[in-house]
């Protein structure tokens, strides 16, 4: 499993490197408005081809770019029911605190677990390669976090069950 992680992250890193070419672009329809075009999708000439990178049947990454914004949606591997619940709760926890992350989207795109929205303003304030490092690091850490959570839930469950059943010995 780890053998495909490196190429998967490298592919995402290279694609993000190429796709993160954002510039300021005021809204064409409404004057004095400036909206992330990837969210609105109102003008096809402002959008690039969306890219779907799948590692296997359960893990994938959708990268959609436009002239002034870039949206990255991730689907994290969920092997069983417990991981499903843990992932949902953990990523919902992060999404609700999206203000602190700045580049996080409050609601994930339909069909994915978590989404990022990077605009030209983020690229002006922060360095492009650091943003990409953040996204890739996030993907690596998510897997570790979910495994740790699962292990701690199982350990606690085992301890509680042992203690509870001791009274019946």
């Amino acid at each position: 499993m780890a053998s495909t992680l490196r190429p998967y992250l490298t592919c995402i890193r290279n694609t993000l490197d190429a796709a993160m070419c954002l510039q300021n672009f005021p809204c064409q329809e409404v004057e004095r408005h400036n909206k992330p075009e990837v969210e609105l999708k109102s003008s096809p000439e402002l959008l690039l081809n969306p890219v779907l990178i799948c590692r296997n049947e359960s893990e994938k990454c959708l990268i959609e770019t436009s002239i002034n914004s870039l949206r990255i949606s991730l689907k994290v591997k969920q092997a069983d029911e417990l991981e499903n619940i843990l992932t949902k709760k953990f990523l919902r926890f992060l999404s609700m605190r999206a203000e602190a992350f700045q580049v996080l989207r409050r609601k994930p795109v339909q069909g994915y677990d978590i989404s990022f929205l990077i605009t030209n303003y983020h690229c002006e304030e922060m360095q492009k390669h650091k943003l990409i490092d953040f996204i890739v690091q996030f993907m690596e850490d998510i897997d570790k976090e979910i495994s740790e959570l699962k292990m701690s839930v199982n350990t606690r469950g085992r301890l509680v069950a042992t203690e509870f059943l001791k009274q019946f010995i």
Binding site: T4, P7, Y8, N14, T15, A18, N49, V51, C54, E57
Partner: protein
């Protein structure tokens, strides 16, 4: 331009499908002779002249997929492939990555890494911006 001449023929979807089938047979015979690199070259060339509807694109993708999965030595393949085919190969790699099928994705990820090293980020960007010639 060589492509303009073949537009007349390419208008007919049936003719395109027949040509793709003809190419598939050639690819199969090359693969039997353990020549995966030549098979991939055959699969990739003439793609632009054959752009048609979804059926043609699917048929073409199946042929390229067959050749891609047979590649074992990625470095050797890339060094013997002409640079003009890098862009079209990148498009097919992304199509392979979108399928979600594990062996295809493994192979495509491996080739994608090496191809980006060789062709650079411009290759990826040309795929992202080309909304006209999609595969």
């Amino acid at each position: 331009m060589a492509r303009a001449g073949s537009f007349v023929e390419a208008d007919n979807a049936e003719a395109i499908i027949t040509r793709i089938e003809h190419k598939s047979r050639k690819i199969e015979s090359l693969l039997k002779q353990y020549k995966p690199v030549e098979a991939l070259k055959t699969a990739l060339e003439g793609t632009y002249a054959m752009t048609g509807d979804e059926r043609c694109k699917s048929a073409h993708w199946i042929a390229v997929h067959r050749a891609l999965m047979a590649i074992k030595d990625v470095d050797g393949m890339l060094s013997s492939l002409d640079p003009e085919y890098y862009d079209i190969l990148m498009k097919y790699l992304y199509r392979g990555l979108a399928t979600g099928d594990r062996p295809t994705c493994d192979q495509c990820l491996r080739i994608h890494e090496k191809l980006t090293e060789k062709a650079g980020l411009g290759c990826i960007l040309r795929f992202l911006t080309d909304t006209v010639n999609t595969v």
